[in-house]
């Protein structure tokens, strides 16, 4: 039997970084299996039947008291409703879903997050920082992301920020780093973020072997446990489920041109 289940949680804290970006700390009302780096949860904050389904989010942090932090960007109906939920409110979760990043084989771990794709990267950082050198690279659009980039999530982390408009950190995207040769042999790369960025990864970094690059992908989901076959992405081995065979895939096995 799987470890995944539907459970309730209480919203302990909501922190707004901007109109469109906030963090939600929720405390499960029952014991759940702790997530591994790369795993995610399905979440909803509404009663009623519309929206119909949970929304997938990867935790940023798991705290000692069992609470989980989620970083959420408002993009549509579901995330809008989640934003309006207040401290003390009840939410529903399903998880922990998905595979996870395998233990790193490289000598250094480079974690790259594009926008909210940073969530599972911070989680991975916390998990591995004691075991090997880890570097966190965050790419953001710029304006509107200041408060988030300066938040205490990142205090004491080896973090480098890039922004498209140059308003925060260095100008450019995380890929800029590769062009400059600051990443190379022996490095293992995990990344999560916009498809364009992930796709470019494999070609941008000649020095890193393709099978030392892992990406965490997104797809629309219904069940989250591999049942509905709704969340597949094309791979070298045919369609694979993001929720069950992923969300973490080797860069080299994804059929990027069909995505």
């Amino acid at each position: 039997m799987g470890n995944i289940k539907d459970f309730s949680a209480i919203v302990l804290k909501k922190t707004a970084f901007s109109d469109e970006l906030f963090m939600l700390r929720v405390l499960p009302e029952e014991r759940i299996k702790q997530p591994n780096p790369g795993q995610f949860f399905l979440l909803k904050s509404w009663e009623g039947l519309d929206p119909l389904l949970f929304r997938p989010f990867a935790p940023v942090l798991a705290h000692e008291d069992g609470s989980l932090d989620f970083l959420i960007k408002v993009v549509g109906k579901g995330t809008q409703i989640i934003r309006s939920c207040m401290e003390g409110a009840k939410v529903k979760l399903r998880g922990p879903c998905g595979n996870s990043f395998p233990d790193p084989a490289g000598q250094r771990l480079i974690l790259i997050g594009g926008a909210v794709g940073i969530a599972p990267m911070v989680f991975s950082y916390m998990n591995y920082e004691k075991k090997l050198p880890v570097k966190l690279i965050l790419g953001v659009p710029g304006a509107g992301w200041d408060d988030f980039c300066e938040s205490d999530i990142f205090s004491n982390l080896d973090l480098e920020i890039f922004s498209d408009d140059g308003s925060i950190g260095r100008k450019g995207t995380p890929l800029t780093l590769f062009e400059k040769g600051e990443i190379g042999e022996g490095d293992e790369i995990w990344a999560c973020g916009p498809i364009g960025m992930l796709k470019a990864l494999g070609t941008a970094i000649d020095a890193v072997k393709e099978n030392q690059i892992y990406v965490s992908l997104e797809a629309r989901m219904a069940c989250g446990i591999g049942g509905c076959l709704g969340c597949t992405i094309p791979t070298k081995w045919g369609p694979r489920r993001v929720c069950a065979d992923g969300p973490v895939f080797k860069w080299a096995e994804v059929s990027w041109n069909e995505l």
Partner: protein, 312 residues
């Protein structure tokens, strides 16, 4: 009384411990993925739609939420019956409740091949013939829509298959009466009413249809009033059990479906939305029966038809 004395129903040769069946295509075919405690009260589980050859399914977006509904265009992705029998089935056969083989086919002779392969594997249980998948071309739903070909394939299947045959009808038909009667006349042991409704979604950012195949199948609570109506209609014209399917998400909708005439119920989208839904519904039905002093769930079947003319 035990749980299954109260909630048990029989459909053809099958005895189900509860009237709640997991509909085809929503539940993992790997029991090790099942969250614990979720299927304990399930009457039966339908397999993912199986075809003779493996199928990769449709490309592009496969799921799209609509108001209280879900459009899907999976396109019958499956490993093919042979591989399924060798792998998934080995684990599934011990899952604690009957497994219903949902069979889909493009050409007529494919159903023959499917049934042959199935018998030769030793399985002689219930098959659910899927003549209503809207998400594949040249086959699927086309079978239910054309009454002549429906009759032809069902007759052949009946001649071949010794176990029970359920026929999963399409709601996308001129009217459900005709196909229900054809299925009964061809010797079906039950009909499932129904599958998904043909729908469309437009992606206004891309300014084009969401799905590569344009249309997709609508399921979920949005269609509940429509499937209730179909079940009411179908049970007016056939005597074989009708299994209600479409939009069940809670005790109230499940009870409504039974009272409208369904002998059992399939749940698809409702389970995607809430893993606890089957336990909740079984509990809810039991509670309702106790309150209303009803001993057996069978007494609920078609109750609304009997009461229709009573005032108040």
């Amino acid at each position: 009384m035990s749980f299954s004395d109260i909630l048990g129903v029989s459909i053809g040769k099958l005895m189900l411990r509860s009237p709640i069946i997991i509909a085809s295509g929503v539940w993992p075919m790997e029991p090790e993925r099942w969250p614990s405690g979720i299927v304990d009260k399930v009457g039966a589980i339908c397999t993912k739609g199986l075809t003779f050859s493996p199928k990769e399914g449709n490309k592009g977006i496969r799921l799209w939420e609509t108001p209280c509904g879900l459009l899907n265009s999976i396109g019958l992705q499956n490993p093919g019956l042979e591989s399924f029998l060798k792998n998934e089935f080995q684990m599934l056969k011990n899952c604690g409740c009957p497994l219903i083989f949902n069979l889909a086919f493009h050409r007529e002779d494919e159903l023959d091949l499917l049934l042959d392969k199935l018998s030769s594997s030793g399985f002689d249980g219930t098959v659910e013939i899927n003549v209503s998948c809207p998400n594949v071309s040249g086959g699927g739903m086309a079978w239910a829509v054309d009454l002549m070909s429906l009759e032809m394939v069902l007759k052949k299947a009946r001649a071949k298959w010794k176990g029970d045959i359920w026929v999963k009808l399409s709601p996308n038909v001129p009217d459900i009466y005709d196909s229900a009667i054809v299925a009964e006349n061809c010797g079906a042991d039950a009909i499932v009413v129904a599958n998904t409704w043909l729908g469309l979604a437009i992606d206004i950012k891309k300014k084009k249809p969401v799905f590569e195949r344009i249309f997709a199948g609508l399921s979920g609570p949005a269609i509940l009033p429509l499937s209730l109506r179909l079940v009411w209609e179908a049970t007016n014209v056939v005597k074989i059990p009708v299994i209600g399917c479409g939009g069940i998400t809670d005790t109230e909708s499940a009870l409504g479906m039974l009272m409208a005439g369904a002998s059992a119920i399939q749940i698809g989208t409702g389970l995607l939305r809430d893993f606890e839904v089957i336990n909740k519904i079984c509990g809810g039905i039991e509670g309702y029966m106790e309150e209303n002093e009803i001993d057996s769930v069978k007494q609920l079947v078609g109750l609304a038809k009997k009461n229709h003319n009573i005032r108040g």
